[in-house]
Amino acid sequence: MKSLRIAAVTALALAPAALVAGPAHAADATVSILHAVPGATVDVYANGKALLTNFKPGTLTDPLMLPEGTYDLKVTAAGAGAGGAAVIEAKGVKVPGGANVTVVAHLSEAGKPELTPFVNDTSKVPAGKARLTVRHTAAAPAVDVRANGTVALKGLTNPNEAKAVVDAGTIKADVVLAGTSTVVIGPADLTLKEGTNTIVYAWGSAADKNLELAVQTISGMHSAPGGVPAGAGGQVAEAQQGAEAARYAAIAGAGALAGGLVLVRRRRAAAVR
């Protein structure tokens, strides 16, 4: 494996003492790590302590709660040890409390391994919709992302992302060189589950012909529909009003009848006397 230069990552870092941390705080961040460097099984260290071992390409960790702060990250070949040669290194990466983050080990557009932290959008999505996020983490030029043959997100470059709120459902997704119809990845079925942020990563190397898609799904951002409009005829209400009217008529009629009978009887009785 080539030895590679340190890639400085300034946006985010993982906090120092987190690996043997105590109870959760509201200021913890939710952190997932994606291994998107082809061909290298690696170990990941945070502040000198092993965080992951035998981490395979194309795999994504379960979310990890880490206190906010700054971290030094190092990726080595599997089994190389904490002092082993760095495949990727990033010092002083800041992790903001409460954020949901995916740290991605990937190739730059030029093919150099680096680490990029992405903040995941966990804001609520309207009923019936999903958020689609696409991240360009491949050694490839600018691309467009298509859904069912139509460009959905265009001109995406490494290491950037684009996102949109779309109808939930399953689409046929593919990736083309920007402005062209030259397909470089896919097509593949992609399920955009309602209420989720479905995050798609383009990764690998165009030169090595191993470009592919990785998917991460974050759920829980659904919204309820605005109501249940279950009746537009009004016939039940009419029937109820009719029944009420009939009832009042019956009450009034019974009253009138009884009152009338009493009067008649009294007059007859009076007449007899």
């Binding site: 941390a21 994504l60 309820a224 537009a232 009004g234 009253g255």
Partner: protein, 249 residues
């Protein structure tokens, strides 16, 4: 002497009402009595536990829901219980999980009330409300929520109470449901039974929609239609009738 006392008492008695007045009073008393008896005899029977306006749909059977919305349950349990652990989080292939194997619901029956209705999956209408099948004969199942048999949340089924041209739909009888009544829902070959725990009529403006469409908490069935007063101009009812039922196997 009694008679002397009475005579003396009679002279001081207040004047009795005149005869015509007494006649009217007697007639009135009879009228009120007869009217009251009729009113009582024609009162609607209060079969359902509480059919009246509630302030909100009260998910009283559900425990407090977790408010943390995001992601799979976290690994590295420092967050869960304060336990110290250095266990590395699991890593899995970054691909999509296959879709749920459970079948969608397709039929609802309420034997005691003679209800037997088809169910179709529905989503969200353009205005953001739940979409419903056009005909009151068919129930819509909110497809983005849990299906019968799933371990958490509310399976929501709804049908129109009535429709121009169609008349009153079969769902209208749910107001007669009682606590303990059985509803069965079929999903393909699997039939599941639910026991009614409440029937409520709630003003739409007070309805807790996130509770009605909850995706967490214990599994429950919500059968929904409309009720209350009808606005002829807007063609809308002002209430929802919500039947809550729990799975019983």
């Amino acid at each position: 002497m009694p008679y002397e006392d009475d005579e003396r008492a009679g002279r001081h008695r207040p004047a009795r009402p005149s005869r015509p007045f007494r006649g009217v009073a007697a007639a009135l008393a009879a009228a009120l009595l007869a009217g009251g008896a009729t009113a009582w005899a024609t009162r609607s029977s209060d079969a359902a536990p509480t059919v009246g306006t509630s302030r909100s749909l009260d998910p009283s059977t559900s425990p407090a829901r977790s408010t943390s919305p995001v992601g799979a349950s976290p690994a590295a349990s420092a967050s869960e219980s304060g336990r110290v652990t250095a266990e590395p989080p699991a890593a899995r292939p970054a691909t999509q999980a296959p879709a749920s194997a459970a079948a969608a619901p397709d039929r609802l029956t309420i034997r005691r009330l003679g209800v037997d209705m088809r169910i179709v999956p529905v989503g969200v209408a353009r205005d953001g409300e739940m979409a419903l099948p056009g005909s009151p004969a068919t129930l819509g199942w909110y497809r983005y929520g849990p299906r019968p048999g799933e371990p958490a949340g509310a399976t929501v089924l709804a049908a129109h109470l009535d429709m121009p041209g169609y008349g009153i739909g079969p769902i209208a009888v749910v107001e007669e449901l009682r606590k303990g009544d059985v509803i069965t829902v079929s999903s393909g070959d699997t039939v599941r039974r639910y026991t009614v725990t409440s029937v409520r009529s709630v003003l739409k403006t007070s309805l807790d929609l996130s509770g009605l469409f909850a995706r967490d908490g214990p599994p429950v069935l919500h059968v929904v239609t409309c009720g209350g007063d009808f606005d002829r101009e807007k063609r809308r009812y002002d209430k929802n009738v919500v039947v809550t039922a729990e799975p019983t196997g």
